[in-house]
Subunit: 412 residues, 2 copies
Amino acid sequence: MNGEIISIGTELLLGDVLNSNSQYLSKELSILGINLFYHSVVGDNAYRLKQTLLTAFKRSDIIITTGGLGPTQDDLTKETISKILNLPLELHQPSLKHIENYFKNNFCKMTSNNIKQAYIPKGSIAIPNHNGTAPGIIIEKNNKIIILLPGPPKEMIPMFEKYIISYLSQKQNKNFYSKYYRVVGIGESALEDLLLDIIDKQENPTLATYAGDCEVLLRLTANAKNEQKANKILQPYENFIYNKIGQHIYGGKEDTLEKVTADLLLKHNITFSIAESCTGGLVASRLTSVPKISKVFHSGIVCYSNQAKKNIVGVSKQILEQKGAVSPEIAEELCKGLYNKTHTDIVMSITGIAGPEGGTIDKPIGLVYIGLLYNNQIEIYKFHLKGERKKIQKQASQLALNIIRKKVLSII
Amino acid sequence: MNGEIISIGTELLLGDVLNSNSQYLSKELSILGINLFYHSVVGDNAYRLKQTLLTAFKRSDIIITTGGLGPTQDDLTKETISKILNLPLELHQPSLKHIENYFKNNFCKMTSNNIKQAYIPKGSIAIPNHNGTAPGIIIEKNNKIIILLPGPPKEMIPMFEKYIISYLSQKQNKNFYSKYYRVVGIGESALEDLLLDIIDKQENPTLATYAGDCEVLLRLTANAKNEQKANKILQPYENFIYNKIGQHIYGGKEDTLEKVTADLLLKHNITFSIAESCTGGLVASRLTSVPKISKVFHSGIVCYSNQAKKNIVGVSKQILEQKGAVSPEIAEELCKGLYNKTHTDIVMSITGIAGPEGGTIDKPIGLVYIGLLYNNQIEIYKFHLKGERKKIQKQASQLALNIIRKKVLSII
């Protein structure tokens, strides 16, 4: 089957939004064995959208659109396709119910124009949107498949994964089974180098890497008749991956490093507190984004200033003056000072230079110490991180969470 | 003039490469006042490239291609356009010289197929490539302008900036000027309702809204000869927008709420500390992502547990037991307790129920109190937020930052 992607939205033509949807969909369609020949982008304009769709109908079996399903007047995708295919829009009650609930749950007032989102072309299939109001839509007509997806990636991607992949797999008469590995502490290029043997072959299974925010997502995909056969194909490759980079894998697709780490603390009832200087509360913020964490998370202190380090955490003034705030000694002092206040099982500290100012030859921007106190034993980790301030903070928080994760795994 | 962008390369259709060129060019063309109506992506396939180009010639005055200018056989852009326009390829000596020098300077061996890159269509203009071997090409024929640019952004962008912008500015007698407004504390639909008068007209200027993460970006764009005339067009609309929603506007396009807030604290040297319960350090983390904030940010305490509230911030045990952690009294206690430790100009506290557990009828999930202590005066704000845990935390942090921002503005 030949496919094409049409992205709809004037914001794309103005360059206000990067068309990341097309890349995501291209990767997915390639894995599904659909030959993608074109991407198009067109604005919120009925005439030009119609022309683009007519061209696509002529040359492609599968057309996937993203965008233009919103509640406002310039959202025209459904209306235009409905006219071209002569399929009148009809109110889809379950979608209306979903939209009403969505607004209720988000404490927003539903405006009358949101009702428009619950209309779908006659005879089409509505696809639930678990992260927004606009349902996706599948239309089958004249041996063509048209799939309408919402524009925001946080709505589009989960919808595609949950519903569209299985739908297209059936149409293709091929089944794809994927395993995902979330990898931290190693870059995408280094990862590809290590896994070159699999990447070079790329037949069955295929391996894809997706660069994330200071981590990488690996996807291993087999084409097989059923899950059992897929697992047989995948197993030796999974073993190979774990042999090469097992220590860097923290979880699967739906995991986040903060959730995996927080859940380990919760499961083993290990209490935790943290003193953060250069990460400014980022580790605390990430851990406390996980439900129920209040059971083990005692406290975090953002001891950004030296006064805070002394007066709130109780760091020795003398050591602070002698060694400076960014030093292994202060990392240790922070852990011990905080332990005296919290008596939690694990106490962590982070001190470093996030930049863009404050770096010296001895202590350059990106120098970060992470301290960990457990069972009267202190460990100090030293890192040299690269990048802008926010990147250094994010990387440091990744490293910190991974240190907690590994610590819990080592003591349970 | 109407324009379109054609990106050429099978790697784009496989999702191996993100099409960032289109976004860059869209932004630039928008600023130059060229109405961009389409992006297309097509692979390294002569037939489909020809079809795409023919469609573009019919509907656009300016066609900008990226990619397909490389030395290999699957680089077909120049060859295909040369055939369509009946302009034979001719060796361009200065380009050949440049390619030879490029290899010499980079200590690489020039292969014979690189000579192909020095051929350009008869009568066209070669554009120097300072970062690679393929020259750009400008063709003017039949009242159309075709601009061929190399695919790699590190070659394309400098070439566009150095040569193409001035070329296109001469051709255009129009310019677009935009103003951006970042809006917090009001949703996209509600915003559109308030600004319907402008949105409905949508001639000159036009108004667009872009939903962000717990905020909205507004763009007002005028089509005018120069900046002064654009400002004359935009001013009454800007006044209208400020009259309607001025209190919600916190900044312009490049601003973030944390940066605007942090910069206000820094500019007026107002010291700050915060005790966060339900937001778990998110406000501290956002503020400390801003460079130099260490000058005014004293400390943050993530007092997630009741022990932390008592032992670290110094909240009264009695009030905590009588009123509960999520109460205006505890919001006040947290501010006062933290003030005793930090003596900062502003002290803030946040306590609430982020869920998914812990809600009651009296104190439902989403109930959040924000306390602010300044100049011996305490203010307590009460909110009912909706959504998932992370959304409630993010919303609360937006509200908190906005409260700080408004406070600073009111006291300076």
